[in-house]
Symmetry: C2
Subunit: 384 residues, 2 copies
């Protein structure tokens, strides 16, 4: 088990629709909260990593903007992108740079102002994260890709539309109590099933809530963390994997191989198994994505994911509480900020500071953050 | 002096105008050359880093595309961007991940197909790498920003248009003999001075040649490098700095602070001084940028850069040969590929494989790669 690098501060803006400030102000919300949480100031930071997907905001290369706005010049800053997993990819780089002895501490800032463009433009851009030569010209977009996976899961394992609705119902029950969530309403299974079809079998309420938001994590070496923080949370294991960009290159369409590879690596590095995880944040961009995550992370055997949600095992009080902050489905999915927000949720859980969403006695937590339709997969295991 | 990480393979496509293939084929050219140079195959690679600026190609998040096309799934891949210094920023991350013990070896692939869009669109996009709230709406673009620096240097130090022309003349004398350069013609001082004004005092021939191209570096730990390679080149020192995105935030407009910070760090880490450098590649996106680099890197005292070029000290045979492959000015500047191409030139120099461009007996080399108008600065010192 590695305990070389710790998270000493976390922050998150409220996830909202139609944020009225610019990206610099949006990013500042998470940054200032994390700095306050860590009890440090910009002059203590040795490097910054910015995670954000391009083409939403007119500003290109936003790390230059952020470094100036946040008072981080002349320290180096690095811009990373892996679409929806950009900010956990940022965590990789911060972790590596700290462990390599280059910079310490390092701040990782994720943000996205999706409302800067129309919803249709957003879908078009997301489509161009897939293969623009062989796939996206034919109209494939995120809901269609995940719908294929849902169809695959239904066909192979007998999973049903009701099972997916149960996942959304769980998300809304926690989104309701999360003050930073964009979608605060509670939904019933019936409401989910009656919502308009987007890409069969996925309906409106199977899809996550786009949002504007920011997240921030401050990482430090174990030695530095002990100096600064009274409540460090350690990075016990990290794993990252990829799968083909094209769906035609995939072995199956009822699971994400990138997540399996990433989980295996992270568990091995941490010396832990799925049974050791007390609380998890998984990438539920669509309900089917959470279902597949149960299986890809080893919380359920392949094909048995539906049993977990049917038996409420992923609620607080169940075997493995998942997305008890509302997840991408209800908390919202400002893509560059999402991973950092997931990490924040787990850090607060492990510090016992999650309020009404607290999983009692949580000591080990897991984050599962996916880029694109399982192109990139990051799994991070955290512990006190 | 650090000798923990080595470069075991380098490759570069020809830098051209109007490349007819797609970005995947363009990237493959450098990748296949580097793999052959290292004597390994895709299955030996543990992670990849892709450096490229967005909004030139329709494909978003190109690391997913490249991982599939180059046979690198299911290994992790990381997309980084710092505009014109993207591929050396990639080197940072590869270096860190290797030294952190996460992945080994790691490939860093840079590419840009600038001809995918018009030259005017390219200028507009480059402008949006500057501050889109307070500066670029007023029409500031790269030539204008560097022209301000030239005016500043002229006013403070008495540098002249002829001095800048001398830098371009040197570049063309080496571009002529570099088979991979996009601009192969030799120019005279008169031709440079007579070319059309772009942003006074910078003229057409003070500006670098946009191009399509790719570059590739393969990095490994010292132990792995010794196993694989008979000719490793070590990363002796790296330094990275930033300056404000806005020009109004700068202390001066006759030098780049980010480069000074980066150089100081790199020299300190390597335990070397400017006098130890046998050959250098500097970021000559404009002639004035090379002039400032002479001073910011310590090859000349502040204000004395012009003397170096007047006395031909930066030619082969001079005190410190600079950009003897033609530089960005003549070899070309496909922005995401540029840094990796600079590193390749130095690696070939240190291996004694630079042909007609060889600096006799070169043992220590330096790379200086800048993003934007001195927003990001990376300095890398390499040695055998």
């Amino acid at each position: 088990m590695s305990k070389d690098v710790a998270i000493i501060g976390v922050g998150q803006s409220a996830f909202v629709r139609g944020y009225e400030g610019s990206i610099r102000e949006l990013a500042f919300e998470a940054y200032s909260e994390a700095m306050k949480d860590a009890g440090i100031t910009s002059k203590d930071i040795e490097a910054s990593v910015i995670g954000s997907a391009p083409e939403y905001d007119k500003q290109r290369s936003p790390s230059g903007l952020m470094a100036e706005y946040l008072g981080l010049n002349p320290q180096p800053t690095f811009n990373v992108e892996s679409v929806c997993s950009s900010s956990t990819t940022g965590l990789w780089l911060a972790y590596s740079m700290i462990k390599a002895g280059l910079y310490d501490p390092v701040v990782v800032l994720g943000f996205q102002k999706m409302s800067e463009i129309t919803s249709a433009d957003s879908q078009e851009r997301m489509g161009r994260g897939a293969d623009i030569m062989w796939e996206s010209p034919f109209g494939t977009m995120m809901p269609a890709y995940y719908a294929m996976h849902a169809q695959g899961h239904f066909a192979r394992y007998g999973t049903t539309e009701e099972d997916l609705a149960l996942i959304r119902v769980k998300a809304t029950s926690y989104g309701k109590i999360n003050e930073k969530a964009v979608y605060r309403k509670e939904l019933t299974v019936e409401q989910c099933l009656e919502s308009a079809v987007v890409a069969s079998p996925l309906k409106v309420f199977d899809c996550c809530a786009n949002a504007d938001g920011s997240s921030c994590m401050i990482l430090a070496s174990a030695d530095k963390a002990k100096e600064i923080s009274s409540k460090p949370v350690y990075v016990l294991g990290i794993g990252s994997g990829t799968a083909s960009l094209t769906m035609t290159g995939r072995n199956t369409l009822y699971g994400l191989d990138c997540a399996k590879v990433a989980a295996k690596e992270a568990y091995e590095m941490a010396g832990l198994t799925p049974q050791d995880i007390d609380v998890a944040e998984v990438h539920d961009c669509f309900t089917i994505a959470e279902m597949m995550a149960y299986e890809n992370l080893g919380f359920a055997e392949p094909g048995k994911g539906a049993e977990l949600i049917r038996n409420r095992e992923t609620y607080i009080g169940g075997k493995i509480p998942v997305n008890v902050d509302g997840g991408l489905l209800s908390k919202g999915h400002p893509i560059g900020a999402t991973g950092g927000s997931q990490v924040r949720t787990i850090v607060l859980q492990l510090r016992g500071e999650a309020g009404d969403m607290q999983v009692p006695g949580a000591e080990i937590g897991l984050v599962h953050n996916i880029g694109g339709v399982g192109i990139y997969g990051n799994v991070i295991i955290l512990g006190r």
